[in-house]
């Protein structure tokens, strides 16, 4: 008869035997158990063994069997995980005319360059200026949409100053107002889909810095950095609009958590403005 206390202890300490199973595709699955901080840890590794034969000179072969000494004394053969590890893969491809900037020139990089070369085209009159600078922006709607003038006519039919014609209607409620002063909040508002909201921006940040940082990912159409009216310092948030939503998504992913001016940037897609 055995002492039950001993038995219990043994149970807790006894670790199952490690198992090695050979898989059909030539790999092996190794299951090992070990104790860590009083807990049983099960490790399952799936490995593929390849035998690489290498011919070395006898001196090297002899040295391979030297017994370990110093801090390694008594350790088993093979690399120990506490001193030796394998780092991530590095692509090293020597090339002529190598430049620091050429290092990670990828497809997106090229695309960005193409965007820079692209001509500026007005969305309203297709002229070579920005849409905001268009001389016709108050009279015409962007191409492919009903023109502002037509809209006005439709409004005129029901009376330009509201339904009754006599009572005062504030400008922002006038239907025709959409075509003039209230334009920005109206139908032709900016495409918020590709706009990022950047928060936790250093108060010494400049719009140009942000533009430089973000134009790495694509064509930046607008940068707005909120500034304090009195001090002229940044308030800590900014909006960055991209021409393409995919680029915005990429920038969002890459720049979120980026350290800039001692602060960690927080980047997310801007929410639809409430107006």
């Amino acid at each position: 008869m055995t002492d039950w206390t001993l038995d219990d202890d043994d149970d807790a300490l006894a670790l199952p035997q490690s198992q090695i199973t050979k898989n059909k595709d030539g790999t092996e699955t190794i299951v090992t158990y070990r104790m860590e901080d009083g807990k049983k840890v099960k490790t399952t590794r799936r490995i593929k063994k390849t035998v690489v034969k290498q011919v070395v000179n006898p001196r090297v072969a002899e040295r391979k069997h030297w017994t370990k000494f110093g801090a390694e004394k008594g350790k088993p053969a093979g690399p120990q995980s506490d001193t030796t590890s394998v780092a991530e893969n590095i692509v090293f491809r020597p090339m002529a005319n190598w430049k620091a900037s050429a290092e990670d020139k990828t497809e997106t990089e090229k695309k960005k360059l193409a965007m820079k070369d692209a001509k500026i085209k007005c969305r309203i009159c297709s002229g070579d200026h920005w849409t905001t600078k268009c001389p016709f922006k108050d009279t015409m709607a962007p191409e492919g949409e009903p023109g502002g003038a037509e809209l006005d006519e439709a409004v005129d039919a029901t009376g330009g100053l509201g339904p009754s014609g006599s009572s005062y209607v504030p400008p922002h409620l006038r239907k025709g107002g959409a075509a003039t002063g209230d334009r920005m909040g109206g139908r032709y508002e900016r495409d918020d889909l590709a706009t990022l909201r950047v928060t936790n921006v250093s108060e010494f940040a400049e719009e140009q810095d942000l533009r430089d940082m973000f134009s790495r990912f694509g064509h930046v159409t607008r940068v707005f950095l909120a500034k304090d009216r009195e001090t002229g310092r940044a308030k800590g948030f900014a909006f960055v609009s991209f021409a393409d939503r995919a680029e915005a998504a990429k920038a969002c992913e890459k720049m979120d958590g980026y350290g800039y001016g001692h602060l960690i940037l927080k980047v997310e897609f801007a929410k639809k403005s409430t107006t």
């Binding site: 040295r63 110093g70 390694e72 053969a77 093979g78 120990q80 394998v86 590095i90 090293f92 430049k99």
Partner: protein, 335 residues
Amino acid sequence: MRPILLSGHERALTQVKYNKDGDIIFSVSKDHVVGAWFSYNGERLGTYHGHQGALWTVDVDPTTTFLATGGADNTMRLWNVQTGKLLKTWEFGSSIKRVEFSSDGSKLLGVTEKRTGHLSTIVVYDIVQDVDAEQTDEQSLRIVCDESKATVAGFSYGAKWIIAGHEDGSVSQYDVKGGELLDNVMVHEPDMPITDMQWAPDRTYFITASKDKTAKLISTKDLNVMKSYNTDTPLNSAAITPVKDYIILGGGQAAMDVTTTNARQGKFEARFYHKIFEEEIGRVRGHFGPLNYVAVHPLGTGYCSGGEDGYVRVHHFDKPYFDFMYEVEREQARM
């Protein structure tokens, strides 16, 4: 290329060296310990304990029997490579900045630091080629560098001359027999210390790295600057690759200056230059701190770098490295 990361040291690496067959890497660091590693898988063979201060330098003799080290505890030590046993300790008045065996292993030189009351010297000992024999205390040569302290030194081919690099950016050639100064040439910017000097396989020329952000390829015989490699960062080390005509440079902003500079890139990369065309052909990233030393596998199959971050990274080159050729080289190969 998947580098092997050797993380056995607790402080900044100061030098790493391959033995002549390239199967073992020796590393020294400021943590007082010498490490020996198998280069093919990164397995640690052992450590050598005994030094009482930061280590600056290590070298192994051609037969991988003796290991010499020098450090800030003012001693130069000789070890049995296989067992890790300390064979001999030479004591000096100041720290040892560089040790090097001659190409046949019969001589060992040490460079001592300049300190109040001590001038910088280059000392040479004859090594008895037997691990059980008593090594001599007697210096076979002592060169005093009174003008500018020596930072690096080594034996030329056939142990004919001793070539030394100095703190003021010059290199000197000394006669091995009597220790006379034969030549002194200013190769780097004045007062920019030479940080490293490594030999070509046949020791007919060598490369120096300097804080002036350049590395120079210099002939041993007449100290003629043959090639110059310009970078944008202070250099700590330069190596010449066999097989392919490349140069590997390592450096980076010193740790004390890092906070005052643009942190995006401390420029902690190994830079590859073409030896003949003096043009940069690529970089290898990985270290978190300046590279203190780069060493090339004697057979040209890989290199390793020791960094201020306390890691040794062992790289085995893959195909693109060996395939790369300039157009003119390719034409040459076709003919």
